[in-house]
């Protein structure tokens, strides 16, 4: 039955993958694979591959497998078999067609969420293995078109959305002006040397959701934080290069951000509600640059709100009335353990918090992260269909509001909510915090 369904499924057309693969030759593929495996992998890959006993126990961890009728080709070990397994078996002598399909698996059928690591008796990191596959595909020039465009943008502008420097500054000034109507002496301080906090956002905020910067400006000013934002590249903490496998550009982006913070002599970087960006500065990009931990403390929004509320710097006027549930974003929960702080914040600002199940480190991924949503419209249908378990999980809470303190999750959940007709709205924490906090004019 599964076979029949697969055959009738439309093959997805993506120029980046299809045309990229057309240009390849067998020799080139073998050479690149050899180079990546020899120069960039070592004991971890070897032990993972040698130790995996093919027990299939990781399957139940993966929302994609669970949502695709438990089709084993979507299980974590199944995806390794279809990619790295074949590559190693054939010693790199695989066809261009194979690389195209392996790229589709690695870029669009795995969110690198690492939930499967928690389910494997040996702790085998399938996400790591698939990231190596992405690295190979990147080096072969076979990457999905849309996400590649964002990597290009990073490379040219040091931000993800092709935003020019004057547009960035304009946007901040425009938000400052607007916010001054509400709070007359509000500032969004640009380039303030020696501030305590450098606030950084992902490029989609100034592009599509400048209101989030507005809310944060109100929060910062109310709490009396000595903060600044850089006017130069380095303000964007997002990082799609990390997900295309373009580690060199990832390194440049992260360096730009750390440099901006060092130039402004700030004590820490605070970032907005984004998960992948946190992963990039805290876990991946810093390591690529040779820093064991980030060279300057990085504080995710959840933790920042937590600190403000704990210290009483922000007071709540009246708690939010509607029932809310929380989607724990992989990158800051399985990636940084912020789940209890998130719950503290939500309980401080909302009256009625309902847990979804599973939760905390065991939450299901949104299926947008890991760059999957950034692979764009060609893969949207598949992405949304591959997360029916998520739809069920959030629907079962019966909550009216779904809090998603991560941009990728946020967009991914909106797609899921509309496709599965779940009666729910998504919000960031700051949307609610802004609404319920005491402001100086009150």
């Amino acid at each position: 039955m599964a076979e029949v369904i697969e055959k009738t499924e439309q093959r997805i057309v993506d120029e980046g993958l299809d045309k990229g693969a057309d240009k390849l030759t067998g020799d080139q593929i073998a050479r690149v694979i050899k180079a990546v495996l020899e120069n960039e992998t070592g004991a971890r890959l070897k032990v993972y591959v040698d130790t995996c006993v093919h027990c299939g126990l990781c399957s139940d961890a993966c929302h994609i497998y669970l949502s695709q009728n438990r089709n084993p080709k979507f299980s974590p070990a199944g995806k390794v078999k279809r990619t790295m397994g074949e590559i190693l078996k054939k010693k790199g002598r695989v066809s261009p067609e194979f690389i195209r399909d392996a790229a589709e698996v690695a870029y669009t059928e795995c969110n690198l969420c690492k939930r499967c690591v928690q389910y494997c008796p040996f702790g085998i990191d399938v996400a790591y293995i698939l990231l190596i596959v992405r690295r190979i595909c990147h080096k072969l020039g076979v990457t999905p078109l849309y996400i590649q465009d964002t990597a290009h943008s990073h490379s040219v502008t040091m931000n993800q959305m092709w935003i020019k420097e004057d547009e960035w500054i304009d946007t901040l000034q425009w938000q400052e002006e607007d916010a001054r109507e509400e709070m007359p002496n509000l500032r969004i301080p640009l380039e303030k040397e020696g501030a305590d906090v450098m606030y950084s956002v992902i490029a989609p905020e100034p592009k599509f959701q400048p209101n989030l910067i507005y809310y944060t400006a109100i929060l910062m000013n109310t709490a009396g934080i000595n903060w600044t934002m850089p006017a130069t590249p380095g303000w964007d903490n997002s990082d799609m290069a990390m997900f295309t496998g373009d580690n060199e550009i990832m390194g440049r982006i992260k360096r730009a951000q750390f440099d901006a913070a060092a130039r402004l002599k700030v004590k820490k970087i605070v970032m907005g509600e984004c998960g992948h960006a946190f992963r990039s500065v805290y876990d991946v990009g810093n390591r690529w640059l040779g820093w064991k931990m980030p060279p300057i403390p990085i504080v995710h929004a959840i933790e920042f709100y937590y600190d403000l509320l704990k210290a009483g710097k922000i007071k709540i006027r009246e708690k939010y009335k509607k029932s809310v549930t929380l989607h724990d974003p992989c990158n800051v929960v399985r990636g940084a353990g912020l789940h209890e702080k998130a719950r503290y914040v939500i309980n401080e600002i909302c009256e009625n918090f309902i847990e979804m199940h599973p939760n905390r480190e065991h939450n299901y991924c949104c299926n947008a992260g890991g760059g999957v949503i950034n692979c764009g419209p060609p893969f949207k249908n598949k992405r949304v269909k591959s997360n029916s378990v998520k739809a069920k999980q959030i629907r079962d809470t019966g909550a009216e509001i779904l809090i998603t303190p991560c941009h990728n999750c946020h967009s991914g959940m909106e797609d899921i909510i509309s496709y599965y007709n779940v009666n729910m709205h998504t919000k960031f924490i700051i949307d609610i915090l802004y609404e319920v906090m005491e402001k100086p004019g009150d």
């Binding site: 992998t41 070592g42 004991a43 971890r44 070897k46 032990v47 993972y48 040698d50 130790t51 995996c52 006993v53 093919h54 027990c55 299939g56 126990l57 399957s59 139940d60 961890a61 497998y65 438990r70 089709n71 084993p72 080709k73 299980s75 070990a77 199944g78 078999k81 690591v117 928690q118 389910y119 008796p121 040996f122 702790g123 085998i124 990191d125 876990d283 390591r287 064991k292 931990m293 929960v333 399985r334 990636g335 940084a336 353990g337 480190e361 065991h362």
Partner: protein
């Protein structure tokens, strides 16, 4: 095995020099695998050391040897029980079965603690049942079948063989002499296979857990079970 003499010669060979070969390959091979691994880490991924933490390594290992502690074990209760019983019997039986103790006594004149025969017999049966269970799992469950390769069936056979032959010997079913020699050979093959096949998970499981446990504990501040 036509005459008692040729049986004696073969028996002496498989239970003498070949045992030595098997143990040397097993111990030497295991040391080599560890050595090779450490060399690889030093050459390419030295940073791994800086992330390792005893505390979180042990936390992870203890979590995963405690029955029904990890979420996934609770999701598969039958498999969990079979896996524990299987692995315990697999490791304990060969070391403490009476027959092996007698051999050790004869060879080195050291006293060896032995399991009561009926218990050893039962444990052997558990290993065999475990192997059958794993085989059925591989054949029946789609998610297991899909990732199974020929080598997995071979390995299962390599593990089952010493126990099946040992069980038959003990119960004197079939040609005892032949089965005894097959039993010894099978045991030796299994021992030698450990460092060089997926059975090496016996050697590396603690290491993979220690690494990921440290990552999760120290960097991710999250549970890995």
């Amino acid at each position: 095995m036509n005459s008692p003499d040729s049986f004696g010669a073969i028996y002496n060979f498989v239970s003498g020099p070949l045992v030595w070969v098997a143990f040397i390959v097993f111990v030497g091979g295991s040391i080599y695998r560890f050595y090779d691994l450490i060399k690889l880490v030093n050459r390419k991924e030295k940073f791994i050391y800086s992330y390792m933490s005893w505390k979180y390594s042990l936390r992870s290992i203890i979590a995963w040897v405690t029955p029904f502690f990890p979420v996934n074990m609770r999701k598969h209760p039958v498999l969990t029980v079979v896996t524990y019983v299987f692995h315990l019997c697999l490791l304990i039986t060969p070391v403490f079965v009476l027959g092996h103790g007698v051999l050790i006594k004869n060879a080195w004149n050291v006293r060896w603690w032995a399991l009561p025969e009926s218990i050893a017999d039962f444990m052997t049966l558990m290993v065999i049942i475990g192997c059958i269970f794993f085989l059925v799992r591989r054949l029946v469950f789609r998610e297991v079948k899909y990732v199974t390769t020929m080598s997995d069936y071979f390995l299962l056979a390599i593990v089952a063989a010493p126990f099946v032959t040992g069980f038959l010997c003990y119960h004197q079913v079939g040609n005892y002499d032949l089965l005894l020699i097959l039993h010894i050979l099978a045991g030796e093959i299994m021992l030698m296979a450990i460092p060089f096949t997926r059975l090496s998970h016996m050697l590396f499981a603690a290491l993979t857990r220690a690494y990921i446990g440290s990552e999760f504990g120290k960097v991710r501040h999250a549970r890995d079970w």
